[in-house]
Amino acid sequence: MTDINVILMLMIVGSIIAVETRDMLSCVVVVGVVGLFQSLAFLVLKAPDLAIVQLVVEILSLVILLRVIIRKEASEPQHHPDYFPMLVGITLSLLALLFVHPILRELPQFGQPVMRVAKEYIENGMKATGATNLVSAVILDFRAYDTLGEAVVLFTAVCGALIVLRKTGRKKKGEPETEA
């Protein structure tokens, strides 16, 4: 399974570039590239629905992030390098990798999933729901309450963003109207 490894390595390189570049515009664009690689990886992993959703979401989040950084700080200011947070970050990341490595070895081998729950869905999904696409059969029928809950989370997040960004009701006296 080398092609998925190659895509994952490209994603690693892309995320390192995205984290370390000083120019904010190229940083955001490289994050978009990482997301598009993930869409490609979903296609390779035989998840076409996820690939489509990832493509749309990636473009939308690129637009949102561009909206923020445009006409603001074009690049990170050149401050003197602060080594303490960098050291803490590297240590934490290495610790996370160290702890996660034995757990990943305990899991079933890549390419041989257990599929104890999914066997039921695969055998009866078509008869029970009439949907040929098993992914939509699972999200809209077998686990519809899950989807309802996640829709609530989505609604809450959108409401929060709209409330934070709204203009009316935030004006104080003497404060000039600022552009969002």
Partner: protein, 111 residues
């Protein structure tokens, strides 16, 4: 090996969240961690030489990949977009108030 490469992406995102001072970089770190976790779930469900989980009426197909992680991740991706939008909205508000994205300069409260 494949799982571990995925977790390296997660570690890079964790490093960005912990070590960076720019708020946009922190948001990007969280996005990278989201990518890694979504990818990890789909990797768990992959079967060697499997087919996409779309059946046909006439024939019975046995070697398809696990549809359950894909169904869970499908909504998680969209929620990731919504939470990113929420974080970006907060960052925009903080920028309007303090004029910077640097988290070390916005410690003092200005009510």
């Amino acid at each position: 090996m494949t799982y571990f490469l995925c977790m390296i992406i997660f570690a890079i995102g964790l490093y960005a969240v912990v070590a960076k001072r720019n708020m946009i970089k922190i948001i990007i770190g969280i996005m990278v961690m989201e990518y890694a976790l979504n990818m990890l779930f789909v990797l768990f469900g992959y079967r060697q030489g499997g087919r996409s989980p779309i059946l046909e009426k006439a024939q019975t197909i046995t070697n398809i990949v696990d549809p359950l992680p894909q169904a869970l991740i499908l909504t998680a991706i969209v929620i990731g977009l919504a939470t990113t939008a929420l974080m970006v909205a907060l960052a925009v508000r903080i920028y309007e108030k303090y004029g910077t994205f640097d988290i070390t300069k916005i410690r003092k409260l200005r009510g």
